[in-house]
């Protein structure tokens, strides 16, 4: 497997706690750069232990961890290098946010990397803007909501420009909308080239979000693969004290009744709908358009003009922090704030038009996602990129 370009690799990694209990046994995995990886497994499966080894917080009892092909060294200077490149967001934000203000907390990493004051300020400003919390600099963490705390924690890691971000249970204790927003932000980061590793109990989340799922139990990796590869095996999942993702569960019941064809299970609601209602049998067969509006470089007046021109009767969605903030400033009511592309494709398939506000690299990503969908399903949806008026 040496041909694979692994950014993080573990070789025969074992770890036992002081009292002799083995938390990890002989784990050998190789994670490729640029992917979205989910570690799933029951409590005590060793997910957190494995994560804490990836940035050198825990030192293996035997075996080794490699970062970009180099075995981890445990002297102070090498550890600093690795921890800068592999950022870690803890499950409980209060563990992570220890400074008295948002600014100070986000500035912590850059300051300790020895950046000059001006550069620290620039990086903090950038990170806070990215997570949508510009203007929160002087707030103390105890005046923030759970979702805001998580964003600050992510900003604190972002300000150090890591290549890999590890997030321990990023959605635990968050309300559904906040969780979706955090996961969408992680998608955006992944689009920007970062490798993401999360741990979670939420099988639905792991199934639809991750490129690669690593199933762990009792300190072992018992299955690795894409979501469908891992989650199709009901016995394995039950053994690991997890449950099937809802979409897979529904699909299996439908397939056993002959309603859906056996084969590849759907990844999400869009694919499930396609499975049940193949192309051509929907409505009168006419397909709606999806307009994509770049929120970067458009001011409020331009956006409102666009809304006037094409926005009437459209379903509207916004992706990414800056697009959502812009929509809020313009007073545009949004129909979708997460899972936006899929929702808009679903609406287009029943002949309705939809408009997506997003920014930067996500515009290209959205266009590509829609055309990929057209190629795979045969339902070609017109994606129109709106130019500022």
């Amino acid at each position: 497997m040496s041909a694979m370009t692994g950014i993080i690799e573990t070789r025969n990694l074992s770890y036992s706690y002081g009292d002799g209990t083995l938390a990890l046994r002989d784990v050998s995995i190789c994670l490729e750069a640029g992917r979205k990886v989910a570690l799933v497994g029951p409590n005590g499966a060793g997910k957190s232990t494995l994560m804490l080894m990836m940035n050198g917080i825990l030192r293996p009892s035997s075996g080794e961890v490699l970062f970009a092909g180099q075995p981890l060294q445990y002297d102070a200077a090498s550890l600093r290098k690795v921890r800068r490149a592999v950022g870690m967001v803890f499950q409980n934000s209060d563990d992570q946010l220890f400074a008295p203000t948002v600014y100070q907390d986000v500035a912590f990493g850059p300051t300790n990397l020895g950046y000059p004051a001006e550069k620290v300020k620039k990086y903090v400003g950038f990170a806070l803007q990215y997570v949508g919390l510009s203007g929160y600099e002087r707030r103390p963490p105890h005046h923030l909501s759970g979702g805001e705390k998580k964003r600050v924690a992510i900003a604190g890691i972002l300000a150090m420009e890591p290549q890999v971000m590890i997030l321990d249970e990023p959605t635990s204790n968050l309300d559904p909308a906040s969780s979706e927003e955090i996961m969408e932000m992680l998608d955006e980061l992944n689009q920007g080239g970062k490798t993401l590793i999360i741990s979670t109990h939420d099988v639905d989340l792991a199934y639809r979000w991750a490129d690669e799922v690593i199933l762990m139990k009792d300190g072992d990796v018992i299955r690795r693969g894409s979501g469908p590869e891992v989650f199709m095996d009901g016995n394995l999942i039950r053994d690991a004290r997890l449950k099937l993702p809802m979409v897979v569960d529904i699909y299996q019941e439908l397939a056993s009744r002959g309603i859906a064809s056996e084969g590849k299970p759907p990844r999400n609601i869009l694919e499930l709908c396609d499975l049940l209602q193949p192309r051509g049998s929907v409505g009168d067969g006419s397909v709606g358009k999806i307009y994509i509006c770049d929120a970067d470089g458009s001011d409020e007046k331009q956006i409102l003009a666009i809304m006037d021109k094409v926005g009437k009767g459209c379903f509207k969605g916004a992706m990414g922090t800056s697009a959502k903030l812009l929509a809020e400033r313009c007073g545009i009511p949004l129909d979708f704030t997460y899972g936006v592309i899929d929702k808009c494709i679903l609406k287009a398939l029943i002949g309705k038009d939809a408009l997506i506000m997003t920014s930067g690299g996500m515009v290209e990503h959205t266009m590509k996602r829609i055309s990929d969908y057209g190629r795979e399903s045969g339902a070609v949806i017109d994606a129109v990129r709106l130019q500022p008026l």
């Binding site: 804490l52 950022g87 400074a99 600014y103 100070q104 300051t111």
Partner: protein
């Protein structure tokens, strides 16, 4: 977990006024209170700063008076004792309690009054700082006053985790009350002891997690300190100067009205 002093400090109308100026007013007022030999100056300080807190910083009157009531009740009690114990001079009031002769004499009475006024003025000065200046601004001011860095760093983290532990203490307390941990004096005491010990253990664990969190972010002995907010305008400085001048004048000359 709201309506802590800290919340007012963050949201009052004087939030953006130079923290140095506010600290200076508070500390100078306190000095005037303790050094004035007559009660007039502390009472003037109390009046001025209370008006400032209520009218300028817009702290609700109800909250402000409730805040003052607690220390004031202690001060009243001790002033009463001082009045009875102290001094010479004309007897102002005499009574018998359980066969003991008690008398309030002139010297004792004026000392009690002075004590009360000083406590009151001092409390108002302290509340003025606490209600108008968030701790983070005070940290920045401490830094510019060349207080040793490790002291400031430590106090910043203590400040941050006060709220985490306050939250945990409140949750443990509700868990106890839910299961009737507050029924009767004995079980209340027992519950309190448990709360304290659990909180101690949790803070220990929190400390270990804190080290992990700091290490993960390349801790190298540096914690940023916010920059100073707001500079004092000349009008503000003029007002403060006039107020302090008035207060010190009263402190020196203010004998007449309060001679008993």
């Amino acid at each position: 977990m709201h309506n802590l002093l800290d919340d007012y400090a963050h949201h009052n109308a004087l939030r953006d006024v130079s923290p140095r100026l506010k600290l200076f007013i508070g500390l100078a007022s306190m000095l005037i209170c303790v050094s004035s030999p007559y009660p007039a100056a502390p009472l003037f300080v109390a009046l001025f700063l209370s008006l400032a807190a209520v009218l300028l910083a817009r702290i609700p009157v109800r909250i402000y008076s409730r805040l003052l009531l607690l220390p004031l009740s202690f001060a009243l009690l001790s002033a009463g004792v001082v009045a009875l114990m102290q001094g010479e001079g004309r007897v102002l009031l005499q009574m018998q309690l359980l066969g003991i002769d008690l008398a309030v004499r002139q010297e004792g009475a004026s000392l009690a009054l002075l004590l009360l006024a000083r406590t009151f003025g001092g409390m108002c000065s302290l509340y003025f700082i606490a209600l108008s200046t968030p701790m983070i601004e005070i940290f920045a001011t401490l830094k510019s006053l060349r207080i040793p860095y490790s002291v400031i760093e430590l106090s910043m983290m203590i400040y941050r985790y006060i709220f985490v532990f306050l939250d945990q203490a409140a949750r443990i307390h509700s868990a106890q009350v839910m299961r009737l941990g507050d029924a009767g004096a004995k079980s209340s005491l027992h519950s309190f002891a448990m709360l304290a010990s659990v909180l101690f253990l949790r803070s220990w664990e929190q400390g270990e997690r804190l080290v992990l969190a700091m290490d993960s972010r390349c801790y190298d002995g540096k914690l940023n300190i916010m920059e100073q907010a707001g500079k004092a305008t000349s009008l503000q400085m003029l007002i403060v100067a006039v107020y302090l001048l008035l207060a010190s004048t009263i402190a020196v000359l203010g004998r007449g009205a309060f001679l008993l």
